[in-house]
């Protein structure tokens, strides 16, 4: 396993992280204001503060018993082979194009059927729970998989702060919509902004996390910075990236892929080797870095932890 050895002096001891981030924010905002005054408009991507974010080491990340001990894929593979249609539909485009995404400042709205609706600043949101490393398998609906060392915190920490009412049965997630930053949105490949959803018990499950980091560092843009969902027993597209809104709702949300091809992508989209995609088999997968395919595991191998969520449900009709 590739766990980076922490340096003897923590970054936080040299400069308090809060001060440091505040200074960064001040500098960015001040220079943005100056640039706006000078030119009359703010050029998109002119300052690119997001580029400075990715790669910053995250402090105080704890290990988790929920991690797999399988060897993780390389940082390079994880950050150059991405499905993120907001930056192009082939898997090599996001790494090239995602620089245009500005992840600071970033706000996340938490709203709907809850007692405490709130708009969080991203740096506030990442502090609601201690950060943990979660090494998870990721299975893409296209038939490939990786092992990824995420850094994040359980989604249930946010849910507990929000205090859902009895009406809240699902959460609807939304990705940022801003074609200037996400040029893929100029094309109507999917209905923007990207929408996903989870049932409340799925969202509350300790395996479900909000990831803000990768390999101990701030999440690169192409992997869904600044904050993304990770639900390891579902196909990758359920794990929505660059989230700007959580809405607690009564009715099952209609997701982007359900709108695009309802007979191919259902709401649950649990990894299931027995239920094939209408156009290809889901029985096996190619683990990135391996030559021959391996068998796909039911619920991506997380069955003993989450199978009870779906007891009595027909997974063929609820695909």
């Amino acid at each position: 396993m590739l766990i980076k050895k922490p340096s003897d002096i923590k970054g936080g001891e040299i400069t308090d992280k809060e001060t440091y981030l505040d200074r960064r924010k001040f500098l960015i905002q001040a220079s943005a204001a100056l640039a706006t005054m000078a030119t009359g408009f703010a050029a998109p991507g002119f300052l690119e503060p997001s580029r400075a974010q990715a790669g910053i080491k995250l402090a105080g990340v704890r290990k988790s018993p929920l991690s797999t001990d399988e060897p993780p894929n390389s940082f390079k593979d994880i950050t150059t082979y991405n499905n993120f249609y907001e930056f192009g539909t082939d898997k090599y485009s996001p790494a090239r194009n995602a620089k245009s995404l500005v992840t600071r400042p970033w706000t996340v709205a938490v709203e709907g059927e809850i007692k405490h609706p709130k708009v969080y600043d991203i740096d506030e949101l990442t502090k609601i729970s201690p950060l943990e490393e979660r090494i998870y398998r990721l299975r893409c609906v296209e038939g490939w998989s990786m092992v990824i060392p995420w850094v994040g915190f359980p989604l249930n920490a946010l849910i507990n702060q929000a205090q859902p009412t009895s009406k809240a049965r699902y959460i609807e997630f939304k990705t940022l919509f801003d074609p200037k930053q996400m040029p893929g949105q100029y094309r109507g490949v999917l209905e923007w902004s990207y929408t996903e959803g989870l049932r409340m018990d799925e969202a509350m499950h300790p395996l479900t996390i909000l990831a803000v980091g990768l390999y101990g560092e701030v999440l690169p843009n192409q992997n869904g910075a600044p904050i993304r969902l990770v639900v390891p027993w579902k196909y990758g597209f359920k794990s929505i990236k660059s989230i700007v809104r959580f809405r607690f709702v009564e009715k099952q949300p209609l997701t982007a892929w359900m709108k695009s091809a309802p007979h191919e992508y259902g709401f649950y989209s649990n990894v299931n080797p027995e239920v094939n995609h209408p156009r290809w088999s889901q029985a096996r997968e190619r683990r990135i870095g391996e030559f021959t395919k391996r068998k796909t595991l039911m619920f991506n191998g997380y069955g003993d932890q989450i199978a009870s969520l779906y007891q009595g449900m027909d997974l063929k009709t609820n695909f």
Binding site: Y92, V189, L190, R279, A283, R286, G289, F291, K293
Partner: protein
Amino acid sequence: MLNSQFKTQNLKFKILQVGAFLACLIPLGLLGFDAYTDNLGANPIEVITRTTGTWTLVFLLITLSVTPLRKLAGVQRLIKFRRMLGLFTFFYACLHFTTYIWLDQFFDLHDIIKDVMKRPFITLGFASFVSLIPLAITSNRRMITRLGKRWQQLHRAVYLIAIGGVIHFYWQVKADTTQPLIYGAILTLLLAYRLITARGLRTTGALRTPTRPVVRDNRVRN
């Protein structure tokens, strides 16, 4: 005098032919180079499958462009490249098929058969590939003379194969259908040209008395 002129022309043509042959190998060369320098990305097998499939379709469309280009641009000699282009289509199709059988499925016959039977996009790709085989086998001069009129009938199957190939691509794509639609649009143009000229020839009776009796063998009119 005349003889030497003919000879230099012939030499020029030979050089052109060898050049075209080598040019047709460039996509394979680039793929090989990327593989050698470890530049095929995180999922090399997917890249190889996609690249060989793409070039199969590109060569198929180029092959089908020969006749319209000959007629519209009046470059009769293009016909001499058509067989080579057709065989390169088959060559890249073989690479694509081998990639699937070997690198993707690793000779798992059970799974391959299941795939071919159950997955329409694989069924269609497989059928298109198999249909190319008789065309490739009968592409030499001996078979052309031996089959006579039936040769032309047989080789018209390439139109169906091309349609099959483009649909195979379209069905494989998850959401962004731009690329297969571009291939489909080009193929539609190429097929429309043939429909129009076939009708034109029939009504003017030009089918029997060709205005340009330049080409000797009977492969020209499809």
